[in-house]
Assembly symmetry: C2
Homo-oligomer: 150 residues x 2
C-alpha cells in the first residue's frame, strides 16, 4: 500500500541490488507464490525494463512459466502498489511497468512506443507552480517525445 522509493543498501553486484525475488516479496509483505516468484525473477533479473502486461505474459510463456494473463495484471498492480514497480502511462492503450523505481524521466520514441530512461539529473526542472486548491503533489513526469529521423 505504501510507496517505497528508498535507496537500497545495495549489497552484492551493482547490476542486481538485491537479487532474490523471494526477499523482495517478503520485504513488501506479498506471499511468495510460484507465480509471483517467477514473475519477479523475469522482471528484476537483468537490467531495467519497460514492459507491458502482454509482454510479460509472453516472457513467462517463453520461460515455460504457467501464469494466466489475469495474474500478470494482478501481480503487476500489486508490485506497483508495493513500490517494486512504477507504472508509466504514455501511449493510447497500453501501460508500461518500469522496473527502475528511482526518480527519472523518459524518452518516448513514437510511433513504435519504445521507452528510454533519462536519469533525473539530466533534466533540470525547477520552480514548480503550486498545485491547485485541495491537492498535494504526487510526482513529476517529464516525457520527451521523439520521432525516428533516419
Amino acid at each position: 500500500m505504501a510507496h517505497r522509493h528508498d535507496s537500497e543498501p545495495n549489497t552484492g553486484t551493482a547490476q542486481r541490488p538485491f537479487a532474490d525475488a523471494l526477499a523482495r516479496l517478503k520485504e513488501v509483505g506479498l506471499r511468495p507464490t510460484r507465480q509471483r516468484l517467477a514473475l519477479a525473477k523475469l522482471l528484476f533479473d537483468g537490467g531495467d525494463q519497460h514492459i507491458t502486461a502482454e509482454q510479460l505474459h509472453g516472457m513467462a510463456r517463453n520461460a515455460s512459466v504457467k501464469v494466466s494473463l489475469a495474474t500478470v495484471y494482478n501481480t503487476l498492480h500489486q508490485f506497483r502498489d508495493s513500490g517494486l514497480l512504477r507504472e508509466v502511462v504514455i501511449g493510447q492503450g497500453r501501460s508500461y511497468f518500469d522496473t527502475n523505481i528511482h526518480d527519472h524521466h523518459h524518452f518516448f520514441v513514437e510511433p513504435m512506443g519504445q521507452l528510454v530512461d533519462i536519469p533525473v539529473d539530466s533534466v533540470e526542472v525547477g520552480q514548480l507552480p503550486t498545485p491547485p486548491d485541495g491537492t498535494v503533489l504526487d510526482r513529476v513526469d517529464v516525457i520527451i517525445r521523439v520521432t525516428r529521423s533516419a
Copy 2:
C-alpha cells in the same frame, strides 16, 4: 498534416483569438461541413478546454447537434493533425484533446483525471539530454501528478 504552434495575430477579444469556426477550418483546408462547424464551435468558443471524445459527443447532444461518435473521433483526429488541437494522453483509457495548442504543461488530478493547464514559464526545464540514436525531438511534456488532499 503539418503542425501549427504559431502565436495568432489575436484580433478581437483575448478570449477568442479568432472566433470564426469557419475561418479555422478554411485555414487548415478542411471542408466546412455542418458537423465540423458545430464541433469547432463547441471546442473553440469559450476558454481552453480538455475534453474527451465522449464528452464532446455529449456536448453536441446537449446542443442538439446531430453527430455520430465516429464523426467526433474523426473530427478530433483531423483537428489534431491540423494543429488545431493537441492530444494529451495521461490516464489509462482515455485521451484528452486540449484546445490550448500553445506550449504548456499540465497538472493531472488523480484519481478523477482532471487536467489543469500550467503556463510554460511556470516550469523551468533546462538542459535536455540529447535524444537517442536516430531520433529527433518532438516535444516535451511535463505532467505534475497531484492527488486530492482534503
